[in-house]
Structures are given as C-alpha cells and as structure tokens.
Amino acid sequence: MTPPKPHRILLDRVSVYADEAAAFMRRRRISRRPFARLYYPHGRSADHAEDSRSGAELFVSAGRLIEVAGKKQKG
C-alpha cells in the first residue's frame, strides 16, 4: 500500500480546518442570543436581561437606532 501523496495530506488538513471553522461559526450563531451589555469605567461590565426593566429600555432604544440606520446600503 502506497502512502498518500504529500499534496493530498495538505489538502485534507486544509479542509479539516475549514470544516472546523464552519462548525464554529454555526455554533456561534446558534448560541449568540440577544443581549444588552453596559461597560463602566475601570473595566466593569454588566449584562441586562431583556425581560428586566432596564433591559427592556435598552432594547427599545437599540431598536429605534437600528430603525434610523436602516438597511445596509453597500453593494
């Protein structure tokens, strides 16, 4: 039995990396739910749930800005 040609090994490795990257992107899209995160001085941050009062205000404000910005117009 002859060993696989070197260029085949390289191609296989590249396709494995591509598969891994595609899977990572799929997982990221699924797991990344809407969130509202505020950052304060000295590196502190806080998440606000959508169903909390502060979270609801933030999501409504964000929705208005998204509306103002409109759809992407670049070709």
């Binding site: 899209r29 509202a36 505020l38 999501f59 409504v60 208005r64 800005l65 910005a69």
Partner: protein, 147 residues
C-alpha cells in the same frame, strides 16, 4: 409589552436626557467642526464593512455628523439610549453593546464626545469599539491623534 416598553423609554428620555451629556468628561471644551466629524465618520465606515449607520455627538448632545437619515432622530435616539444605559445602575456608562436579531448597536463616550453605531449581526465588537474610541479621541484633540 411593546407599548409598555415605549412608555418606559419615553419616561427615561424625559428624566435624564437633559443631563446625560453633561456627565461626559469635559475634554472637548469646544466641539470639533462638522467637516472633521463627517470625514471621521466616513473613515469609520470604510474601516468597518458591517457598519449600517453611525453618528457622532458633540458635548451638548448635538449631532456633529450622521449617516443617512434624519440627524434629529439620531440625536433623540442616541440620547434615549444613553439615558436608558445610565439609568440602569444610576451610573454613567462608558460603552454600550446591544445585540438584537435585527442588528447590533454600539455606543461610546470618550473625550467629551459620544458616538453611536449600528451594524449587522456578529460584527467584530472590540475592533469597532476601538475604532470608535480612537475616532473620538482624535476628533477631540487632533494634535494627539488616534492610537
């Protein structure tokens, strides 16, 4: 629920809008000219392919530059966002990142100025915030320049 949230945001706007921009550090004692702000905004758009629209706000909350759309809407909605963010913990925020199904919103205060940006979903958050911060710093003090 949507109606209740709208009422809440209107309350927040009325409550805090007037004062929110006075909470920013007074580095930019005089607002940069609108031409520089427009150029900076255009450059931000070139660097950020996910950007849908953005606005730069002066020390008093006035719009120095904005993407297509009504500048007055940008001013009002940015003020409402900062009001809601500051009201969440009764503390002035430095940055805001909100991700929704429709897109993502970023807001930042730096050097007495503020900027808001709307992007597609899954934008590179830290990179965009870095660019926005550099943009504001450079606008506030062109002699120092960005990072």
């Amino acid at each position: 629920m949507a109606q209740m949230a709208t009422v809440m945001i209107q309350e927040a706007r009325a409550r805090v809008t007037v004062g929110i921009f006075t909470q920013m550090p007074d580095v930019a004692a005089t607002a940069p000219d609108r031409e520089s702000a427009a150029a900076a905004l255009e450059f931000l758009g070139e660097m950020s392919p996910d950007l849908r629209g953005a606005a730069i706000l002066g020390p008093e909350g006035e719009v120095l530059a904005a993407s297509e759309g009504e500048p007055e809407r940008w001013r009002e909605d940015a003020a409402a966002l900062f009001a809601a963010a500051d009201g969440a913990e009764e503390t002035a925020v430095e940055q805001v990142h909100i991700a929704t199904e429709q897109g993502e919103v970023f807001a930042i205060r730096n050097a007495g100025l503020a900027a808001v940006a709307v992007t597609d979903r899954f934008a590179l958050a830290s990179l965009l915030l870095f660019d926005m911060r550099s943009m504001l710093r450079e606008l506030a003090d062109p002699a120092k320049g960005g990072d």
